[in-house]
Symmetry: C2
Subunit: 372 residues, 2 copies
């Protein structure tokens, strides 16, 4: 009995995971984290209306969710000021990135991203045999001109670009993004990941014609809406592209409870505004904690702050490890020079009290390691 | 602006959908169904403990679900009497079938199934370029010998086999399945879809060594556990195969609420037993309604009954259409000669009262069409 024969591509893939989950780390530590500030989740939770809608829907979960996501799709379209034909809903942006990678990537195809940008995108692209061309950040920002130039040079099929950026929290003006969208090479698709778009400063969300066939924008209920565990993301794009997802997607893949929750969350604009205020205040306090410890916080338009620990990746990793040992879950960028930073998600007052106590100790530990 | 360049395979795929959802049909009808008996869901709903667990988890959905499904995976392993290393959890059996199709199917690879078996499996296989070899049913049963022989003949990478079968509800003895598992050709993987396995008569669930590298069994919380909308399925297989899912799966794809619900459902064995009793009684009544109308119900080991309408597919389709027009949602097999049947899922007393009233009228309408 020889077992299954995998495709040559799958046989060649590593068994790595894009991210190790916090629960895995908690099991290794033998105790739960005291503050969960590493996954850019919303500690403030979903809208009470969304919680109520999900709790109500629990008894209806004997039914499959509507595979057309009809009601949610129309609500999102109205919210975004586009037609339902411009909206595809999927199992989080992660799920949609997987479908899209599959739709365009043949083995050997060139795909462009930034070095140190979202690893799950890279995971999907490599999983379909794409060749990743990674351009360096420029002053901690993703570099639109470099990405466009590389896409033209390599005849790339996709450009991945997050605005605001994760893990740095930096962002570009609406004009810069609009220019980028207007200059995507023929035959290339710009993936504009706006997972953190609701946190952009007023007036900086770009205007992009939803019929532009060279751009797809992704949004999610995981961040500002506080529903990471519900797995609801959506794309805004040209109808032909949107329809093509139907060739590959898991049609009955959406949780019915999540559909109900997302619809209720979308309709609670007041709660979203409240979260935006809370996140801004929390990020400001994170920045102050950084400053109080002699560190520099990068300006952020997201629900997290990258804190420059003032040295290299080894030092930042020591700070991170010491925070985790004290029960404060944070993450850090993967690639130099961004990996001189740690990345801290917005937290409650109590979470940040813990950070405030833990950070000086973590820095002391990291300095000891450095001089050892 | 030319838009994205799809892979040749994706460009060639039709935009068909494996199933049209009941909500889509309701929108076309302009009114909700009075009885939802077409998707083999459990009208009896999930365990009250699972409903409570999901309602409780709604407030925690700001957190991503554990990507390792640690607790649920271990609970399922204990339930199945295997090691956690034998268990893969995914977004329903549909999601797992998609991953598995991708893992083994290169364009042109042979894949074996039965003609008229689960269309979503075919959708996934075609989506990765596999060539489906479809063997006929034998006396309304899937035909293990024919499937094994075809797999050997075509050097197939996968055999799909559902026990009990959907859409016919027929099943095989444990011995037949065990023999089938022992005779899978080298390099081929038998997918044993046991979505309806909890409804098998006592003693007929086969015993299969979980370390057999040529078999993977799939189970789900969608049917007996009444959680179709939660999207939780699992596979039982050899550790190497189980680990390989980690190369392609959407690691953070599971709904946190669904994880909590499935864990609670698994722990409520009393409720499962109650559902098994209710489903058996409901299927018996469906059979009686069929007999009362001069039709023949096929013996079923699932939560639905195939009713032989006594003529051909055109006639059965007319019966189905007339039931749907009366607000009774049912489905039917796709392929002759099984498409002489309609397929009715177990329902509440009130659902079956409606069926009992609607079926004579539907038959009358279908006979009128036939003679017209």
């Amino acid at each position: 009995m020889t077992g299954p024969r995998y495709t040559p591509l799958v046989a060649s893939l590593p068994a790595t995971v894009p991210f190790v989950g916090p629960e895995t780390q908690e099991r290794a530590l033998g105790q739960p984290f005291k503050a969960r500030l590493g996954a850019n989740e919303s500690v403030f939770g979903p809208s009470p209306k969304a919680i109520a809608a999900m709790a109500d829907a629990a008894q209806d979960t004997w039914m499959y969710g509507d595979p057309e996501n009809h009601d949610l799709r129309r609500a999102i379209a109205a919210h975004e000021g586009v037609s339902a034909e411009n909206i595809i809903i999927g199992e989080g942006i992660d799920g949609l990135l997987g479908y899209l990678a599959r739709m365009v990537t043949s083995p050997g195809d060139a795909i462009v991203t930034s070095d140190g940008a979202y690893p799950t995108f890279n995971y999907h692209v490599s999983g379909f045999g794409g060749i990743l061309h990674k351009m360096p950040y420029k002053n901690d920002h993703e570099d639109p001109d470099a990405l466009l130039a590389k896409a033209a040079e390599t005849d790339a099929k996709l450009i991945y670009f997050a605005n605001p950026d994760n893990p740095m929290g930096t962002w570009h003006s609406a004009e810069t993004i609009e220019n980028m969208a207007a200059n995507v090479p023929d035959g290339c698709l710009l993936i504009l990941d706006e997972a953190y778009g609701q946190f952009l400063p007023a007036g900086t969300l770009p205007k992009i014609d939803p019929s532009n066939p060279n751009v797809i924008r992704f949004r999610t209920f995981s961040k500002a809406y506080g529903m990471a565990g519900a797995r609801v993301g959506y794309g805004i794009g040209a109808p032909d592209l949107i329809t093509s997802f139907n060739k590959v997607r898991n049609h009955f893949g959406m949780s019915r409870i999540s559909q109900a929750g997302a619809l209720a969350a979308l309709n609670d604009a007041d709660y979203l505004a409240e979260i935006q205020t809370k996140v801004a205040a929390s990020c400001a306090r994170i920045a102050k904690i950084a400053t109080d410890n002699g560190l520099t916080a990068l300006p952020s338009a997201a629900n997290f702050v990258a804190i420059d620990c003032g040295s290299d990746g080894t030092f930042a990793k020591a700070v991170l490890d010491a925070l985790i040992a004290q029960g404060v879950f944070v993450r850090m960028p993967f690639v130099a020079p961004q990996n001189r930073c740690i990345r801290v998600s917005a937290g409650t007052e109590s979470d940040l009290d813990l950070l405030s106590t833990a950070l000086p100790q973590a820095l002391a530990t990291a300095h000891q390691c450095k001089s050892a």
